[in-house]
């Protein structure tokens, strides 16, 4: 297990290098000269050249890349082209915000999804099952943007129960986290239900029942445990998606997170900031996947990494 972990962690290095090269080439292929954007409307050619020179944007691309890489290895993430602040200052608290938001959302989403999925599977075609599956369908289809605005309108403007923003108080996290939890909850519920149903139709369940095991044991020990394998993958996938894909929620709830920073940086062609935020998103994705693989082994003793 330890060897496996070490190998997987070492593999991160080439992976991140490849991601950084791809992102670097993509942002330089993107139309839009950052120097022009920094200089702004009405800047003369001389102003633009001065900005280019100041930020080293007039150097050949590979020189820019290796300078950047060398600095990263030394722990210097560079300065944002837009704000002139060190990238570490720009990104640190935003990354923490996004981790908090995504974790809260996935916890809420998993609990809701699992409960809904399990109950639906055990009471197939019941009223509860039908209602849950309709909610899940809506949950998968609705955008967090719309859902977020509507929940603000209801809970903040009309009822006045919850603040629509503010990360200082725990209250400020309720609306964004539940909004963001909606889609994973729906996905998890659907996945849990279909998996449970599939497994409940297996021969070994029939054997367990024939042996006279109580329903509870059959459900939890035989069906749920086997169903969880795939569900854990879905949860991991969803968490990964939330890390970079919470842009809409971060925007609607005025929450500074890494997704919003990445989008704002792309708009402003803020290369150093794009690089680091995208790399961090990729890194969290890979680490979440690693965690999922380890969880497999814990849930399913047949899987071993030795």
């Amino acid at each position: 297990m330890f060897k496996y972990l070490k190998r997987r962690l070492l593999m991160l290095i080439p992976l991140l290098l490849v991601v950084s090269i791809i992102v670097f080439s993509m942002i330089h292929l993107m139309p839009g000269d950052p120097a022009m954007i920094i200089a702004g409307e009405g800047a003369s050619q001389a102003d633009i050249e001065a900005v280019k020179h100041k930020h080293g944007l007039d150097k050949p691309l590979f020189v820019q890349y290796f300078t950047w890489l060398g600095n990263i290895i030394r722990g210097d993430f560079g300065k944002s082209l837009r704000t002139g602040r060190p990238i570490s200052q720009e990104i640190g608290f935003r990354f923490v915000n996004t981790i908090k938001l995504a974790t809260l959302a996935i916890v809420i989403g998993s609990i809701l999804g699992l409960v809904m999925g399990i109950v639906s599977a055990t009471k197939r075609y019941s009223f509860f099952d039908n209602v849950t599956m309709v909610i899940a369908m809506v949950g998968v289809s609705i955008t967090p943007f719309y859902l977020g605005l509507m929940s603000i309108l209801l809970f903040s403007v009309k009822l006045g129960w919850l603040p629509m923003m503010g990360v200082e108080s725990w209250k400020g996290w309720i609306l964004p986290a539940t909004t963001l939890a909606f889609r994973p909850a729906a996905m998890i519920a659907r996945m849990t239900r279909s998996n449970m149903l599939e497994i409940l139709g297996q021969d070994y369940i029939l054997s367990a029942r024939a042996l006279g095991l109580p329903n509870k044991v059959v459900f939890v020990k035989y069906a749920l445990r086997n169903a969880l394998n795939t569900v854990v993958t879905v949860i991991g996938l969803q968490l990964g998606l939330l890390m970079g894909g919470a842009v809409m929620t971060e925007t609607v709830f005025s929450l500074p997170g890494i997704g919003r920073l990445a989008v704002e940086s792309i708009k402003g062609r803020d290369f150093p900031s794009i690089q680091v935020s995208v790399l961090l998103i990729a890194l969290s994705f890979v680490i979440i996947n690693l965690a999922v693989d380890i969880l497999y082994a814990i849930i399913n003793p047949r899987i071993s990494y030795n």
């Binding site: 839009g32 200089a39 800047a43 002139g84 602040r85 991991g236 842009v247 989008v263 708009k267």
Partner: protein, 526 residues
């Protein structure tokens, strides 16, 4: 499953890139606020005003600022040698300078400075400080993005502690206006020397508010400057809370979580007016929204075609249907409320028949096809207006293939002149004087001459008005210049944007300036 995971990673990255490339954020200022502030709105002792803005300031170093929202925040903290007297009259008066006089040859401006003012960090304000600031702005090694705006300034001379000479290399009549720009703000020389390019985090001006806590992307808190030389603000704290989404910003003023918002979308006016405690105000603005035509090649090389385009646009419909009346009908490139702007120009009205006739005369009886570009989210309802114009043009036979682009892409694309014949854009007036705008947009070498206009008469009159020190004479030259620009007609000027703001319960004393600066120094709760 494994493949699916990497697919998902790729999807996230692609999604981020595409979101970042396709849409562009609205331009609005930014800031912070404890969320509880709003819920205590009814207590009489309220001294914290929370202002909800769309974007964060990029920097608190005004010499490096390049957008109005950033300038707006900086102006709460920094002051300039000059300022304007009143939003209605817009006459330049002394701020950190008491007064000034100009030498006979029009090259030396002597500014008498106010005495006894100190910066937030305790450094004294004097002639030496002024000189150091302009040396900083003009230093080519610093890479200040707007250095060339000040290229007419040759050098500064300290005469005595409170007198400074600004020496220009050519006579430049609009210097007092130019000195009101946020790029010309006076910073503490002690702070700029100590922090260099990290000044922004330690900003220290002479203004009514001091920089407090700044959480980038979330909020910025400004504290009252208790040593302010002028009338001290009654607010203890001014918080800029960043709320990027228009709809959220509107709801935030309804819930009372913020006390003030700007850049209100016109279609929200009715909604806000109906929600009890909120007041909506509309103020004049200096921003012109226009259609620019590339005139160095067909079809817009023909003046008749440019006139036809001006007749083909139904400006009233745009102002009433999309902007809910929050704009003024444009008759020329300069908003008529700018001092020196002409209000006596030929007014183009909607006349599709005349447009068709002119097109036929120009040799296009069946119209033509052009490429038309517009940003999205940069100006009020820009995309919708561009689409309406596309429809209006089709009625006279002009097929405009509209492409909505990210503003940053447009900034790169327009100077080449290759990718479009027609553009919907906006022009602010940072110095609140026609010189700046007419030079940049309509002279042969103008930085924003995206229409490839090259007219010796326009170039000559631009030079002439700049060197005419007598105000009335200068206005006459400006009138002639604007008539000439309208004769050449590189634009179909559409409207002058008004600024829509919404005030929460009890907010008073806020001054909205037409150059998109909102002054909170006299704000209070009633």
């Amino acid at each position: 499953m494994k493949r699916m995971r990497y697919l998902a990673l790729v999807m996230v990255l692609v999604m981020l890139l595409s979101v970042g490339c396709s849409s562009s954020g609205g331009e609005a200022p930014g800031a912070e606020a404890p969320s509880e502030a709003g819920s205590e709105a009814s207590t009489p002792a309220k001294t914290t005003l929370v202002y909800g803005v769309g974007v964060d300031a990029t920097t608190m170093d005004p010499h490096f600022a390049n957008n109005t929202p950033t300038g707006n925040v900086s102006f709460q903290v920094h002051e300039n040698l000059t300022a304007f007297d009143d939003p209605k009259t817009m006459k330049p008066v002394g701020k950190l300078a008491k007064d000034w006089k100009i030498s006979e040859d029009g090259l030396t401006w002597t500014f008498n400075l106010r005495e006894g003012i100190t910066f937030h960090d305790g450094a004294p304000f004097n002639a030496e400080a002024v000189k150091k600031n302009f040396d900083r702005i003009l230093n080519p090694d610093l890479g200040a993005p707007r250095r060339s705006n000040f290229k007419m300034i040759d050098r500064l001379e300290v005469v005595d502690e409170y007198t400074v000479n600004i020496i220009t290399n050519v006579p430049y009549a609009a210097l007092p206006q130019l000195l009101t720009c946020y790029n010309a703000s006076i910073l503490s020389p002690k702070a700029t020397e100590e922090y260099g390019d990290q000044y922004s985090a330690h900003a220290s001006g002479t203004g009514p508010f001091k920089l407090g806590e700044w959480i980038p992307g979330e909020s910025m808190t400004l504290d009252r400057n208790d040593n302010y030389w002028g009338e001290k603000p009654s607010l203890e704290k001014l918080v800029f809370k960043i709320i990027p989404e228009d709809a959220s910003r509107v709801m935030a003023v309804q819930t009372g979580e913020v006390d003030y918002i700007s850049n209100v979308p016109p279609f929200e006016i009715e909604n806000l007016k109906s929600s009890g405690d909120v007041t909506v105000e509309m103020h004049e603005g200096f921003r012109t929204i226009y259609l620019g035509m590339v005139i160095n090649r067909p079809p817009f090389d023909n003046i008749k075609v440019r006139q036809a385009l001006n007749y083909a646009i139904d400006r009233d419909a745009i102002i009433n249907d999309f902007l809910e009346g929050s704009a003024t009908y444009a008759i020329g490139p300069e908003a008529t409320s700018i001092p020196g702007a002409s209000s006596d120009l030929f007014k183009y009205t909607y006349d599709p028949e005349k447009a068709k006739a002119l097109l036929a005369e120009a040799g296009y009886p069946d119209g033509f096809e052009i490429r038309f570009v517009s940003p999205h989210g940069r100006y009020i309802m820009d995309r919708q207006i561009a689409e309406a114009i596309q429809a209006q043009l089709s009625k006279v036979g002009i097929k405009a293939n509209l492409q909505i682009l990210d503003f940053s892409l447009l900034l790169n694309m327009l100077p080449t002149g290759k990718d479009a014949e027609l553009m919907l854009m906006g022009k602010g007036s940072p110095a609140s004087d026609p010189d700046f705008d007419l030079t940049n947009y309509f002279t042969t070498d103008g930085t924003n001459n995206w229409y490839f206009i090259s007219d010796p008469k326009i170039d000559e009159l631009t030079e002439k008005q700049r060197a005419t020190m007598d105000l009335n004479e200068r206005y006459e030259v400006l009138q002639e210049l604007q008539e000439k620009v309208q004769e050449e007609l590189p634009w179909a000027s559409l409207h002058y944007e008004r600024q829509i703001v919404a005030l929460g319960k009890g907010v008073a004393g806020v001054t909205v300036w037409p150059y998109e600066y909102i002054d909170f120094s006299k704000a209070k709760f009633e």
